[in-house]
Symmetry: C3
Subunit: 133 residues, 3 copies
């Protein structure tokens, strides 16, 4: 079964902590050992795993990404004005695969899972698929 | 079963849409629910998922990657002249994992799967592995 | 079963070849066909796949990453002085998923798997999970 979730973002660029949601999805699957794929079906957003404690970490990731891949670059040819969002999506990636152990995602002490919005605010979808094994 | 495909690229940097090929691979596996790993066994190419409609999007991704990771940088020490291709490969990644639902890869409306060539033109291999679950 | 390994890094930034370890983990699992997830439970390190022959390749990846994401940037707000390590971790990613075929990870001729340290030297953990299918 693939579980679908709705994420509402409030800014153009935003890191939304979805760790609890992933944990719930794994628990509800009833699977004890396996893997879980966290998948973003959008081309101007992504999924990453990074520090869950100090919010300055994701703020710094956000800022550096926006410096490397600026919003307005005269070289962009895509007419919708969100080429930066698409580029960041391919750099961060549309999904993460985690190990499931003892009925929970196996995360490091400081790891949280983030839905990363690069072209919000929008209402987004997120898929979670647990595979036993 | 792992399915192997051949991709022929025609330029040094090129985004080859392999969405149909991934869809076919999943269909032929006969698997209805699970995941599919799309894997590139090369170190100067990668796999990404991004917009499938307006080709200016992947053109902008290609251009920005080549601005960030220039072809000729006097700091490169690898003698084959393709350090940029290797760096881009690690940034984009050698594979993507998609969810399989109702016998097809679960892609967003605007998502396509791309084999990304960073050191072509070449004849490349691509592996697709479907896991039921 | 999830296998856990310890990696000792000796420099701030370092590419540690873990291909043999992944191969051993897959062999010991007894699984012939499936996938393997190689997972780093840290937020200042990652996993990548790139050239296994000429060490100048990973040296060039390391150098370019450190040029794009500099260690000291006055814009960083995270007080631990390792924002660059966190940013690189999200760019490279915390895991890689490989196909398992004939009891071994299906790697290209020139592909090796690397644990990438971005904030060493440290003692790190690494998880390997094989899923049959």
């Amino acid at each position: 079964m693939t579980r679908e979730f709705t994420i509402r973002t409030t800014k153009r660029c935003e890191f939304v902590d979805i760790t609890g949601l992933v944990r719930d999805g794994v628990r509800k699957s009833g699977v004890s050992e396996g893997i879980v794929v966290v998948y973003c079906p959008h081309t101007t957003a992504g999924i990453t795993i990074n520090e869950n404690a100090d919010p300055s970490v994701v703020a710094d990731i956000d800022r550096k990404l926006s410096t490397l891949v600026e919003h307005d670059d005269p070289a962009y040819t895509h007419m919708e004005g969100n080429s930066d969002s698409h580029i960041k999506s391919s750099l961060i990636g549309p999904s993460q695969t985690l190990i499931v152990k003892d009925g929970a995602p196996l995360l490091g002490t400081w790891q949280g899972v983030y839905f990363v919005e690069f072209d919000g605010p929008r209402t987004r979808k997120l898929y979670i698929k647990v595979v036993e094994g």
